[in-house]
Amino acid sequence: MTKILVIAEHLDGKLNGATARAVSAASAVKPDAIDVLVLANAPDAVAAEAARIDGVSKVLTVARPENAHALAAVLAPQIAKAAAGYSHVFAPSTTFGKDLAPRVAALLGVSQVSDVMSVEGPHSFKRPIYAGNAIVTVEVDAGSTVVATIRTASWPAAASNGSAPIEALGVDAILPSHTRFVGLQQGKSDRPDLQGAPKVVSGGRGVGSKENFEIIYKFADKIGAAVGASRAAVDAGYVPNEMQVGQTGKIIAPELYIAVGISGAIQHLTGIKDAGTIVAINKDGEAPIFEIADIGLVRDLFKILPELEQAI
């Protein structure tokens, strides 16, 4: 029996959209069941959201005060126990899943498939290596549990029309106290979430300063887009780290991606390859970003963005 356990990602009582993308990947395996596991202090609201995801057979909740924060060392032993009877364990390839899933795999004594882009069969997957410059097909031994992280940009979010049952699960696992949560400094923004937004405007080193980044925010707000940045812009301190798009930042697949003042290092391009339409605005016509852009415009960003706002 093919049964998939999908680990729910959530924060502040809300289910992260990456979970529904992991469920899409699970559905592609054509399993007998897809169960979503919610580990939380108070899982009810998150579980109710997860129960609506199409394709979910049931939602399992583990309510423990130790699960108030997503510490891999605390969650992994519970997931390893809950995974008994499942052929696959999937988590989204977000910083949450990347931190957690390998710890689960090691406890189960198996290797992990990172960043699943496509499902070729129950034990066969495609994933990127070398920053997406090569795509490999991997085969997992039929006898071993498949632990995988799901590359969210490769999968649409499953719709939310379902009504799966929710069951509380008792997990008999000894939890360590050697790791403690201290705090989370979140960028508060009313803009759309970078990882799920259909439109994204990103700024790079060409923007020049933290103050100048206002021009990117203003334009993004005009078209209702999320805002991202290149590594160079983050390293230079123009914007916080959670806005980084690329190999080691966020990998995104918006319908429209507008790169402003970004030269297009290979590591940045990795993060946007799956975008529907890529627009590049850069005053340097030789910038590598133009090699993958669908629409290019060689102009100074400080002149063109106000003109664009006018023209829209």
């Binding site: 060392a73 899933a101 390293d235």
Partner: protein, 248 residues
């Protein structure tokens, strides 16, 4: 305190990766190899902790074929006290690498193990987490700030939501993110000095590590190419093009 640092050799990040026409791998013959950038950051952080008096010894660990010696010498030139070369002709999976580190930990008893968060060849992002699980110790992944005091490490982590701070009792595993530090450059006199630093060579087979090979790579392909785009000359043309696609 002793610090173990994972020091992997990978295809240099500036190399344009070519997939072999028969799909059997990527071209690595004659290609420049360098330290995994995240591992240079790991080594730099270990050296800084030693320079602050928080560690006495920094040991770089490499797993690979006989010619890995020159790469490990770079780690010694950067400032590591000594190196351990776990010799094997085969590529190892992250789980095998984690099991190998665990064997070395049993012997070396480090207070910290610092690894890169991922290697830029297989982009797996697994070894540190797996090691922490097998060792039954804390993991502090994607670190952008590390503070060691009173038998604990406080780590600021780069996560999707922002910056998370966690505290872990030592010994612990740290994996590095890009903004943790800027690795130092190796100076010529240090290259000379590194020649006299010890490299212990152990055969992977002699460590009693169970090799994990649950996953086999059966085919390599180049990524699909995006088709060549068009250039527009002003704001009006760009807006028209986007409207035509229904994007505005």
């Amino acid at each position: 305190m002793k610090i173990l640092v994972g020091y992997k050799r990978v295809v240099d990040y500036n190399v344009r990766i070519q997939v072999k026409p028969d799909g059997s791998g990527v071209v690595t013959d004659g290609v420049k190899l360098s330290a995994n950038p995240f591992d240079d950051i790991a080594l730099e952080e270990a050296l800084r902790l030693r320079e602050k008096g928080l560690a006495e010894e920094v040991v770089v660990v490499g797993i690979g074929p006989a010619d890995l010696t020159a790469h490990l010498r770079n780690g010694l030139a950067m400032g590591a006290n000594r190196a351990i070369h776990v010799q094997t002709a085969d590529a190892v999976s992250p789980l095998t690498a984690a099991r190998t580190f665990l064997k070395l930990i049993e012997k070396e008893q480090p207070g910290l193990v610092i690894l890169g968060k991922q290697a830029i060849d297989d982009d797996a992002n697994q070894t540190g987490q797996m090691l922490a699980a097998l060792w039954d110790r804390p993991q502090t992944t994607f670190a952008s700030k590390v503070e060691v005091a009173d038998g604990k490490v406080t780590v600021t982590r780069e996560v999707d939501a922002g910056l998370e701070t966690i505290e872990a009792e030592l010994p612990a595993v740290i994996t590095t993110d890009l903004r943790l530090n800027e690795p130092r450059f190796i100076k010529l006199p240090d290259i000379m000095k590194a020649k006299s630093k010890p490299i212990d060579v152990v055969e992977l087979g002699s460590l009693g590590v169970e090799v994990a090979d649950h996953i086999k790579t059966t085919h390599y392909a180049a990524p699909p190419k995006r088709s060549k785009g068009v250039m527009v000359k002003d704001a009006a043309e760009l807006v028209a093009a986007l409207k035509q696609k229904g994007l505005l």
